[in-house]
């Protein structure tokens, strides 16, 4: 029996210029339903229909019909649908209400007025099902991103929903966290839970997918999962033909916060025309090293030297950059500040596949598009040193390829590139050298 049906559903966000979903008709059955498509295509909007966040929370205009677990989505408020549809968001840090694992998981049952005596049993069951039983009693702040996302899955399961919806649950996680969450999804699907999940790393799910839904430009299509082919891995770049002199170096440098050392006696350096990738576990010091190289942090000991020229810095959180009325204005802001009047914003927007979004307000974009907009905003012009912190977060394969091409162009122009990334495909494609940053130490990795 169908768990959810959409019938000619059309939806437009308030103030939106186009429909986010256009005449979508779909049937969702039990099993693992994988939703895929380009960034900004409408995946998150579709998923939010299942628990009524679209249209009840976001407003906007809706027509057509949607039913989930026998309930009319348009006529039923989200808080009622929550009993039947569990939802896991992208960012594990922004969806938690409580500070401890048990209280966080109990939040849903409490809202449903489940008798207090029964809630501990629900907590135990949900944590067990999400593979997070060992986290019971822990404080959320002490958990890794992957562990927190597992707690989010447990929180959704605690209400015993008919359908579990996950919106790119791994997009903010490192490789380890990603494996952790996808293993949970696979196990739940194997145990018979109805799951609807949008994900860019399809290769890790498609072997057990029972349905494959493509969402592109608001159009929804059900495809045969067996016919899905893994996209090719990005092609490894040829090394730059010219290697320039040293562009940056860190000499016996240490840095710390509040008396706690983060990096100690670090020696590292890179040349113009060279891409250096930083790898290592979360909290190992990759971002701190990038900030040190960029001059955002002063070393407590040792020294950091950079050759003159503009530094382009892409922080982990693209929202930290975006504030102009349009994507084009964001790029122009950087070019104006850099005094680079010869280049127009259109060039890099074209390269990163953002031409169609050039006039849009950056914060109205999907997370993957935002990441590209932020990349365009910092990489425009001719930076001498390029520092990228997890630049492919939330990006699909096509967007990643476009970013790789931009990195290659800047490198060939003589820019020194340093990127901190968990993305193995990106690292393999672009890195001339790989530095492992862990436990406050930096070591050269042998290829």
């Amino acid at each position: 029996m169908a768990r959810a049906t959409l019938d000619a559903l059309t939806y437009r966000y308030p103030g939106g210029a186009a429909d986010a979903l256009s005449n979508a008709s779909l049937t969702v059955d039990g099993g693992l339903n994988v939703v895929a498509g380009p960034s900004g295509g409408g995946k998150s909007t579709l998923l939010r229909v299942f628990n009524g966040l679209v249209p009840h929370f976001h407003g906007g205009r809706v027509s057509g019909h949607a039913r989930v677990a026998g309930l009319d989505v348009i006529a039923t408020p989200t808080r009622r649908l929550a009993r039947d549809v569990g939802f896991v968001f992208q960012d594990p840090e922004l969806q938690a209400v409580y500070g401890t694992v048990d209280r966080e998981v109990a939040f849903g049952p409490e809202n449903e007025a489940v008798p207090a005596a029964e809630i501990p049993r629900r907590i135990g069951e949900a944590l067990e099902a999400a593979g997070a039983a060992h986290l019971a009693g822990r404080t959320l702040r002490t958990l890794s991103g992957g562990e927190r996302q597992r707690v989010a899955v447990a929180s959704a399961l605690a209400s015993r929903p008919a359908v579990l919806v996950l919106d790119e649950p791994t997009s903010q996680l490192d490789d380890e966290g990603c494996e952790m969450v996808l293993a949970t999804v696979r196990r739940l699907a194997g145990e018979g839970t109805t799951i609807v999940v949008s994900e860019h790393r399809l290769e890790r799910l498609m072997d057990i997918a029972t349905a494959f839904i493509e969402v592109d430009a608001g159009k929804v299509r059900a495809l045969d999962p067996a016919a899905w082919n893994a996209p090719p891995q990005p092609v490894r770049l040829q090394p730059a033909t010219t290697r320039h002199t040293e562009a940056w170096c860190v000499r016996v440098a240490s840095v710390g916060f509040g008396g706690t050392p983060v990096l100690e006696d670090v020696d590292a350096g890179g040349c113009g025309g060279e891409v250096v990738a930083l790898t290592g576990p979360n909290g190992g010091g990759k971002t701190t090293l990038l900030r040190l190289v960029g001059g955002l942090l002063a070393p407590t000991a040792g020294k950091v030297v950079r050759r003159p020229g503009r530094v382009a810095y892409l922080p982990q959180n693209p929202a930290a950059l975006l504030h102009r009325p349009s994507v084009r204005d964001e790029v122009r802001f950087t070019l104006d500040r850099a005094g680079d009047g010869t280049e127009t914003p259109e060039a890099i927007l074209e390269e990163l596949g953002l031409s169609a979004s050039a006039s849009r307000y950056p914060r109205d974009l999907s997370s993957g598009e935002r990441q590209r907009a932020a990349a365009a905003a910092v990489l425009a012009g001719s930076p001498s040193l390029v520092l990228l912190d997890e630049p492919t977060r939330g990006m699909d394969a096509r967007a990643r390829d476009a970013l790789i091409a931009v990195i290659a162009r800047l490198r060939d122009r003589g820019a020194a590139v340093v990127l901190a990334t968990h993305d193995v495909a990106l690292r393999t494609a672009v890195a001339d050298r790989v530095l492992s940053v862990a436990g406050g130490r930096v070591m050269e990795c042998v290829k």
Binding site: L53, F89, L94, V97, G108, A113, S155, Y313, A319, A320
Partner: protein
């Protein structure tokens, strides 16, 4: 709340100072000196600015410390001990008021508010929780944004230039709160009466703090009404503030959280 009421009830810097000391001790006991160090630096800066502003702008009082030529616009004229003392009293008031409300954001988690509200106010609780979520978020976002903009060539050049930092900070913080609100909605918050797996209960320490706060307000009110807690005026000639033991005892009662919160931490 008791700290705030008393500090606003009196003009006497002795009692304001006592309230400030109590609020500081309570905050340090609840949050730990390390967590409040930045807040204290900011409060000290604001209080000092307020004190100096009065010293520079109010050329009143009889004890002249030095004078600048009256022809100098805004700052010319006599600089008096009374203006300095009045400014310092104002600075203490501001500092005490900020520290009195700081536990609300430093010691309470958004869920503490949600739990404490009756079911009828559940929807308002969601809004309050989302708003409170802004508080710790803003500091971290400010660092991220100012760094990112600095790397794009932004430099602080007058008040207007700060829009390049302030606007993204506000937008990012609001987005975070909306995400939390969306998450709460998606988990059925506000759908009706709630149960509590761990119902909020008043501990002995909570009762102690509540009782002492109530007693402090009552005692200070009595002392003020009876004329024991004398007001203070810096002008025209500076005189030391009068101190009454009952009013001072009321201020001392505000130290109750030091006992209760230290045990909780």
């Amino acid at each position: 709340m008791a700290c705030l009421l008393i500090v606003l009830m009196t003009t006497n810097p002795a009692y304001k100072g006592a309230v400030l000391a109590a609020a500081l001790c309570a905050l340090a006991a609840g949050a730990g000196p390390r967590r409040i160090s930045r807040l204290l630096a900011a409060v000290a800066a604001v209080a000092t600015f307020a004190a100096l502003l009065n010293f520079v702008s109010a050329h009143l009082g009889e004890t002249v410390l030095f004078s600048l030529p009256a022809q100098i616009p805004a700052v010319g004229g006599p600089y008096t001990l009374e203006a300095l003392a009045f400014g310092a009293a104002g600075g203490i008031t501001i500092a005490a008021a900020i520290l009195a409300v700081a536990p609300f954001s430093l010691l309470l988690e958004p869920h503490d508010i949600v739990d404490a509200l009756p079911d009828a106010l559940a929807r308002s609780g969601a809004a309050i929780a989302a708003s409170l979520n802004l508080v710790p978020e803003v500091g971290a976002t400010f660092v991220q944004v100012s760094e990112a903009q600095r790397m794009r060539g932004w430099r602080p050049r007058g008040p207007r230039s700060w829009a390049e930092v302030v606007v993204p900070v506000v937008l990012t913080s609001v987005e975070s709160s909306l995400q939390l609100a969306e998450s709460m909605e998606a988990r059925g918050f506000g759908s009706g009466p709630r149960t509590h797996v761990d119902p909020p209960r008043m501990s002995a320490g909570d009762w102690l703090v509540t009782a002492c706060a109530g007693a402090a307000i009552a005692l200070f009110l009595i002392a003020s009404t009876a004329g024991w807690a004398q007001p203070w005026a810096a002008y025209p000639t500076l005189s030391p503030p009068a101190v009454n033991a009952i009013a001072l005892l009321a201020c001392a009662l505000l130290l109750a959280p030091v006992v209760a919160w230290r045990a909780r931490r």
